[in-house]
Subunit: 446 residues, 2 copies
């Protein structure tokens, strides 16, 4: 980024943020210009990432454009601990899934990814030195401080777990072990960040800077349950799914607070176009695989978002070069929710098109996807068998008393599985009788 | 221990205990007789161990006699964390000190030490698998349960530290990682032990048995401050020191509750003689280095303790084959505190004599002692200097303004230290003036 001054790079790094703590340390690195500033953003690879992830990713794109080394931490151990039922291997597949998806998104945005690195938490969070530091932290941090730090981020439950008290400390140590100059996150992380600033120096480590994004309401709005999976837009959703989900999003005419559709324009769609415009202005050629622009072709050069109006309401397009103008127009009902939604649907589909194309052609990604989210794969149709259709070679798997050779149900099932048969019991509890007597209680498929 | 039956070994292991949880699992191992039962007892190697340690050690002697593999865990990481000022290297020296001392004591008691092993906590408590299990525990254990478990053992302070919440879990994992059948400790550990019984199976590990000693009042009694270092009897104290300390111990005539002197006879002195008698009865020859007996030579064979009475009160000795008899006589004032104390002084000196001889001749122990407790080593006599006797070569260490060549006080002190001079400031706060002007404020010694 040699063509940008230190000041310009600093502005790129900090623009649009809700809060910056310790920015002078970043400025110093930029002014000295001897090495790239380094930052980290952490996420737990759990469910399939939805387009809400574009909010932090858009900011990471700014960091990358400013020549920052961006480390994405996949907190696999945390993800595993948060849901002890998912084996750690599954979590690692999910981290792979996230990584390929994130790279594809950065390419679609048109941001260089040579300074984007991915780190698995388990690659260092189980090391001797990290753990000694965990213990040292635990001997310094009071319960009270740990609880306060996690108040906004750790799930608040009636009977809190110890892990919730450990997380703030672990996240602080990550800054040291990832060797970064600043950590980036949502402003909901503020107490975790100030906790880190307070405690790292107590272990003899440097205090890091902290950059915080404003919280952006989800596309599902505040009025819909966040557990409503159908309202989350997956990166791999078809244009029809995307249209359906955005059409059902909460977005009342004239209402600009908690309007996830509007916020998405300001936090994701406009910044991406701005980055593209800056690249073009900087004389760079747009890379292959970058999304097409969703701004009206006839719009002025500095346009960041365009909304077309139906012919019956006058037609044409309104072009916005700032988010504030759009918000004002929406508040004053100059923009109708249906028109806003249509523009967002078009933009998002346009943005995701090369992402989905790239991933669909990536055989390794398809393999990883099946491993990471096997429940989303199309299921092989089970062949129902009755006593009559039971293949004669299944008999040996049944328990001895019934003429088979296996001793217990577990043994019978294991033998059958080893030979490629899958038994699925209908009842909650298995018992030998179910295996030996009722074939109607079993689905056997091969 | 092939000459003992499983039942006899079980009785040896469990005798005199306050409580046994899960004894049937130990009995099963003894009855199967395919391997030695394994146990662990943990201690944090901090200050120099005092003779109060003889209480658990006497019980460990029972375990060893019964053919148990006894693992002594030196919780060096815990010791380090409890006092972050002591560097971990110092703690390791202290563990060495403890180890040699314990072996010497076991030899003096006459117990085989081939099944006595010592393990440093740091040898496994920083490993990947242990730490993964720590995290797994933290994701299962509630704050409430952790706090309850540590209530009697963890220091209760106004602003509790996270480490206090972690300790119960770490101690539970130690059972698994030390691969033992039971853990031994004082009954103050009860809640930690039942916590381990509850949580280890949740990680897929076996529930262990727990053997608990009654709490024995210290030799300093309940009426003296436990922080009174002078009241603690060190294993290396001279007979004169031992006599002085025991003579000043709280031990009121007829008072048997909270009588540390009386309790010491029941928990340490009698069991050791009983073990000796059992060895002799079992046809074993007493090993070299074993303490002489402190029981009156004329006493019957089953005597465990003897108290001589002064000639003016009738003379002769009273011999006890059970602790209860002694307690009754003391309660009924048939035994005077002075006579009891004299008998305990004689017994303890007799017990420690070969321990101290062995350690004094052990050059490696003397070297370790100096490393482990440097503050206890005889100090080089400081040479007091006044302005008049101040060597002229000290001038360069002073700060520039005062005619020296150093820039700051720190620099002056560092230079002087590098040349072998020690500056000791009298005031709480150092300032340049104190170094440069007032030699009367400094002790300089070389």
């Amino acid at each position: 980024m040699s063509q940008l001054t230190a000041q310009q790079r600093y502005e790129l790094i900090t623009r649009g943020l809700d809060e910056v703590l310790g920015g002078d340390a970043i400025m110093k690195i930029l002014e000295e210009n001897e090495r790239a500033p380094r930052c980290y953003w952490g996420t737990a690879p759990t469910g399939r990432p939805h387009v809400g992830y574009l909010v932090p990713l858009t900011k990471l794109a700014d960091f990358l454009r400013a020549g920052t080394l961006v480390k994405v931490l996949f907190a696999d151990i945390h993800a595993f601990l948060d849901n002890l039922k998912a084996p750690i291997e599954l979590v690692k597949h999910r981290a792979n899934y996230y990584e390929r998806l994130l790279i594809a998104v950065m390419r679609a945005i048109g941001v260089p990814t040579d300074k984007l690195v991915f780190v698995l938490g388990s690659s260092y969070q189980l090391s001797e030195s990290y753990n000694m530091d965990c213990y040292r932290l635990a001997a310094n941090v009071t319960e009270h401080d740990a609880k306060k730090a996690g108040a906004e981020v750790v799930k608040q439950v009636a009977s809190p777990l110890l892990s919730g008290l450990l997380y703030p400390g672990l996240q602080a140590l990550d800054e040291q072990y990832l060797d970064v100059d600043f950590q980036f996150g949502g402003v909901d992380q503020r107490k975790i960040f100030t906790f880190a600033e307070h405690y790292l120096p107590k272990l003899g480590y440097a205090k890091r800077a902290h950059l915080m994004n404003a919280m952006v309401p989800g596309m599902n709005g505040a009025k819909m349950s966040s557990s409503d999976a159908d309202s989350k837009i997956d990166f791999l959703d078809t244009p029809a799914d995307i249209a359906r989900k955005i059409k059902s999003a909460y977005c009342m005419e004239g209402e600009v607070e908690n309007n996830g559709v509007l916020a998405f324009v300001g936090a994701v769609l406009m910044p991406i176009i701005r980055l593209r415009n800056e690249s073009v202005a900087g004389g760079q050629t747009l890379s292959d695989g970058i999304s097409k622009s969703w701004v009206s072709e006839s719009a002025p050069a500095n346009t960041l978002f365009s909304i077309s109006r139906p012919e019956k309401f006058g037609g044409g397009s309104i072009d916005y070069s700032t988010y504030e103008e759009l918000v004002n127009d929406f508040r004053e009902r100059k923009v109708h929710p249906a028109d806003l939604k249509k523009a967002v649907i078009d933009a998002l589909c346009t943005l995701l098109e090369p992402v989905q194309k790239l991933l669909a052609e990536d055989e390794e990604f398809c393999r990883i996807k099946a491993l990471a989210y096997p429940e989303d794969e199309p299921k092989a149709k089970k062949k129902k068998v009755s006593k009559k259709t039971l293949p004669p070679n299944l008999a040996p798997y049944f328990v001895k008393e019934e003429g088979g050779s296996a001793e217990t149900e577990e043994e019978a099932l294991a033998r059958a599985a080893a030979d490629g048969f899958e038994y699925k019991k209908k009842g909650k509890k298995a018992n030998v009788a179910a295996v030996t007597q009722g074939v109607e209680n079993l689905n056997v498929s091969k």
